[in-house]
């Protein structure tokens, strides 16, 4: 039962991820006063890409062709760990939040290495910037998780959700800090404004796009999909940590439809919020990015300190 639930949930995540991406793009188009693409636009793009012939540079190494699959697999694994609608994930003991951070890091490292593989000046530039962003974002994310795990005395996401959602309600000021930090991290990690701009190809500013410049066709498709999946996972992660109410508790099948509805609502809301923030803020210079993330890092650590101060 729970195994099937697990599989269903993971598949659901993988399938719905582009939808969320589409929704965010749509909202942003609206907010920018442009005529919006249909919400299913990402699916079309993926299909188109899959049909194309892959064009690969002469000196590309096997690593280059292997990386997209690896990245996709990592994101799928991540999606499998995070409770989206139901809370009993038989697979989650295999990897707790720290491992989750590890998974993201693994995917990132492979992407960066693949970017450096061709040896164009853009690829290595993108890889460098990506690692620059991540070396601050990753510990910050870890600190956010630590705050949550200190509250729930566990690093297992299901238990965290259990504690936060289904134990008696309590207000955790530390979580407020963590939430803000998490938001900033999400923005950075998913290559959104103000850290990066997913739609630009200006060499001065781009980070993520610079890395995948050499990719085409199915490889590009997998990467795009993985990106969408990453955004999805981060969103569900944020939901699970900061507004977990509605996620179906352990073994409660009846609650599933409601949970699904709640989840869709929350995602829609989160996506809209994300695009709204993007619309009202401008991209910062690259060397402001460390300051931005440093702030996030500080906030996360502060959250932890606050937990030690007020809540122990």
């Amino acid at each position: 039962m729970s195994v099937s639930l697990q599989l269903a949930q993971t598949l659901l995540a993988i399938l719905l991820a582009p939808l969320l991406m589409g929704w965010v793009n749509q909202c942003r188009a609206w907010l920018q006063g442009r005529s919006a693409p249909p919400i299913t636009q990402p699916y079309r793009t993926l299909r188109k890409l899959f049909h194309k012939d892959a064009v690969i540079a002469h000196n590309a190494s096997p690593l280059f062709r292997f990386a997209p699959y690896m990245i996709f697999a990592c994101m799928a694994l991540a999606a499998g760990i995070v409770p989206t609608i139901a809370n009993d994930l038989p697979f989650s003991p295999a990897a707790d939040v720290i491992a989750l951070v590890g998974v993201f890091a693994l995917a990132r490292v492979f992407l960066a290495l693949a970017a450096m593989d061709i040896g164009t000046s853009f690829g290595s530039l993108g890889a460098r910037r990506e690692m620059l962003v991540s070396f601050l974002a990753e510990p910050a994310l870890l600190m956010v998780f630590f705050t949550a795990s200190l509250i729930s005395q566990s690093t297992e996401l299901p238990h965290i959700v259990e504690t936060l959602a289904h134990k008696d309600f309590a207000i955790y000021p530390s979580l407020a800090f963590a939430a803000v930090a998490f938001w900033m991290i999400t923005v950075a990690e998913n290559a959104r404004i103000p850290v990066d701009n997913p739609t630009t190809h200006l060499e001065l500013t781009m980070i993520h796009e610079a890395m995948i410049l050499e990719y085409s066709a199915r490889h590009l498709a997998l990467i795009e999909w993985a990106v969408a999946l990453k955004l999805f996972t981060y969103s569900t992660l944020g939901i699970a940590l900061f507004l977990p109410w509605g996620i179906a508790p352990h073994g409660d099948v009846a609650a599933l439809p409601l949970a699904l509805a709640a989840m869709v609502a929350k995602l829609a809301l989160g996506g809209a919020l994300l695009s709204f923030m993007e619309a009202i803020s401008a991209k910062v210079r690259l060397f402001r990015a460390p300051e931005f993330l440093g702030t996030a890092f500080m906030l996360a650590v502060l959250g932890m300190l606050i937990h030690f101060l007020l809540e122990v």
Partner: protein, 670 residues
């Protein structure tokens, strides 16, 4: 009593291997005429010895401790040897890493000239013997002798290529700091000894010291062992000496020798000192974190690949030391289980580091061999030319970057888990310290990933920055075997954490008197309880592989696998060539920009009209200026003053004697 007999016999075996290595050393000196014999016979035999040591270690983890007394040493103090769980574990580490490295060495040294090779073989085996004796020694004298033999032989290994002045300087700095550290260890033993020239560890264990004196011992030991481990600010020799040595030796030094310092620290703190004090832990934790961050930051800005690895060794030692500090804190706070957890993390990380750092160093060795180039700015694109080295090194790079499901992640995971338990501590100020500490550990880990992407990407990926690199030859078979062994170690240590932790249990029990509650199964690593935290690398790997394969098949089945080759997109700028890739300096530039306060940066930037534009950015260690330079100046000044006494006029010399006489007559003769 068969068990005791078995224990004694494995101790004999260990000592036998030491003698065997010594014999090999002597033999290699005799064989200086025939390099073939040296590489094809002596080194393989040495590798066998390493394997034997590893076996002894494994057996020693199971069997009870056993001791023996040798007929050599000082009159009242023959060499005492003892094999207990702690030394057994470090022997596993040593044997395991040394085996792979020595196998590698059999191939690596084939191109070397006969004479130097013989000397090198001798010092190499002396080095191994010294390290094992350090682990076995059970009295201060034997320990110090082995300790210094280790230092001396490694010094001669470092200065193998002594024609180069930098290498001589590196060796000198190394031996000097090692010697000063050794003297401070002597002082520590001087405090611990019972007097009447009884220097056996047994009497030291019984010594009842006042808090002041035991703190003195701890600080002296921390200084002495820290000097060997590369603890900031005693680290200056490490980035000089490790790159200077031939790569297998660098691998041994970084992978194994640094761990003997950790061993000594554990031995002195938890075994010899019968009481521990809380603030020691805080101190060690702070120093460890500083070391970790300092090391990784400097690793990020290096442009010489071996130097980069050396700095990353400093970082790892820092992490280990932080774990050591945390262990002390928990231990003195009466949190036995948590002390056990951190200690496990410590030992695990030491073991991991031995493997992946050894692997990375020998990997750079092969690159060095194939290209004769250490500056990353002149390498690149080697993945095509030398796939074996590249792929095996990739494993090491991912492992040291702390990525699941490899071994580096497991120890980091354990350590981070430990931080989540601190709310139970009694000293509240620690609660304040811990989040920061955890954050810095996480930061160091993330930066390590940065460093490794830089290292691997610049050296092995991209286009060759020098056309000659296209024809670089891959490593030979012995090298491949050695690297395979080490890589396999990284993978297995990553995939079978529960089993490894099971092996570590006797050590943890011996030092902290506690073991991990250890819920979970052979598949699931759950150090405390499954609700609390768990991690199953095998499942992890399985899922990744399955998803990966499914995706692959699905893409192939539903769509197609067509591929067209073409030139990379040059953004409409046809003159782009390999030199336009990110150089090592370029890749490190953001880190340098952020952390410039710690460095003394020397830049050479070309002016716009340069015919051959050349850029050089060099980040030097500021501590050298802040600490070592003043010391040097001070001693120079003092010696200048002392020199004035010796200015040649016999009258003055007579006045010295006269004054001394009068002084003594006035003050002493009463």
């Amino acid at each position: 009593m068969p068990v005791a007999f078995l224990a004694d016999s494995i101790l004999d075996l260990a000592w036998g291997v030491v003698l065997f290595w010594l014999a090999l050393g002597g033999a290699s000196l005799l064989l200086h005429g025939s390099p073939r014999l040296l590489t094809r016979l002596v080194f393989p035999l040495g590798a066998l010895g390493a394997l034997g040591i590893a076996g002894v270690g494994v057996a020693g983890l199971i069997l009870p401790a056993s001791a023996m007394v040798l007929p050599i040493g000082l009159p009242d103090l023959p060499f005492h040897l003892r094999l207990d769980a702690l030394s057994a574990f470090f022997m596993v580490l040593l044997g395991g890493a040394a085996f792979g490295i020595t196998v590698y060495a059999t191939g690596y040294f084939r191109s070397m000239a006969a004479g130097p090779l013989a000397l090198l073989a001798m010092w190499y085996h002396l080095f191994l013997a010294g390290m094992v004796t350090v682990l076995l020694a059970d009295d201060a004298y034997a320990f110090m002798v082995a300790w210094e033999v280790m230092a001396l032989s490694s010094y001669f290994l470092v200065t193998t290529d002594h024609k180069i002045p930098e290498i001589r300087r590196a060796g000198f700095l190394y031996l000097l700091i090692a010697h000063v550290g050794a003297v401070s260890l002597l002082l520590a033993f001087g405090v611990l000894q019972g007097g009447e020239g009884d220097y056996t560890f047994n009497t030291m264990r019984l010594a009842e010291l006042t808090p002041f004196w035991s703190s003195a011992v701890f600080l002296l030991a921390l200084f002495g062992f820290g000097a060997k481990a590369g603890l900031v600010p005693l680290h200056v020799w490490l980035p000089e000496a490790h790159p200077a040595a031939p790569s297998p030796v660098s691998a041994l030094m970084s992978g194994v020798m640094l761990k003997t310092a950790i061993y000594g620290l554990l031995r002195a703190t938890f075994d010899l000192l019968n009481v521990q004090i809380g603030w020691w832990g805080t101190l060690a934790l702070a120093l460890g974190l500083i070391t970790a961050l300092y090391g990784v930051i400097f690793a990020a800005v290096q442009s010489d690949m071996k130097r980069l690895l050396a700095w990353s060794s400093i970082e790892n030692i820092g992490v280990i030391l932080a774990a050591f500090g945390l262990t002390l804190i928990f231990h003195t706070d009466g949190k036995g289980a948590l002390a056990a957890l951190t200690l496990t993390a410590l030992l695990y990380h030491a073991l991991n580091h031995a493997f992946f750092k050894g692997l990375l160093f020998v990997g750079t060795g092969s690159v060095l061999h194939a290209t004769g180039e250490r500056r990353m700015g002149h390498l690149g694109g080697l993945m095509r030319a030398m796939p074996w080295t590249a792929w095996l090194t990739l494993i090491g790079a991912l492992a040291i970057a702390g990525l699941p499901p490899l071994n580096g992640f497991v120890s980091e995971w354990l350590l981070l888990q430990a931080f989540l338990f601190t709310p139970g501590l009694t000293q509240p100020y620690l609660d304040m310290v811990v989040p920061v500490a955890a954050a810095s550990v996480a930061l160091a880990a993330a930066l390590a990933a940065y460093v490794m992407v830089k290292f691997y990407g610049v050296v092995f990926l991209g286009q060759p920055r020098d056309p000659a690199l296209r024809h670089a030859h891959d490593a030979g078979w012995p090298e491949r075997l050695g690297m395979l062994w080490l890589a396999a170690g990284c993978v297995l240590l990553g995939l079978l954490p529960t089993q490894v932790i099971g092996w570590l249990e006797p050590v943890v029990l011996m030092l902290t008197g506690q073991t991990l509650p250890g819920a979970g199964s052979w598949l699931l690593l759950a150090p405390v309880s499954t609700e609390r935290a768990s991690y199953a690398p095998l499942i992890f790997l399985a899922v990744v592989v399955v998803v990966l394969l499914l995706t692959y098949l699905w893409v192939r089945r539903v769509y197609h696998g067509r591929v067209r080759r073409s030139d990379p997109w040059d953004c409409g700028y046809p003159e782009g060539d390999a030199r336009m890739q990110d150089s090592a300096e370029g890749f490190g530039q953001p880190i340098r920009q952020i952390f410039e306060v710690f460095m003394r940066v020397e830049r050479e930037t070309p002016d716009p009209f340069d015919r051959k534009p050349h850029y050089r950015g060099d980040s030097r260690d500021k501590l050298w200026l802040l600490i070592y330079q003043p010391i040097d100046d001070l001693t120079a000044w003092l010696s200048k003053q002392a020199g004035r006494l010796q200015h040649g006029r016999i009258q003055w010399y007579l006045i010295y004697s006269f004054a001394t006489l009068i002084f003594l007559l006035v003050f002493a003769a009463r």
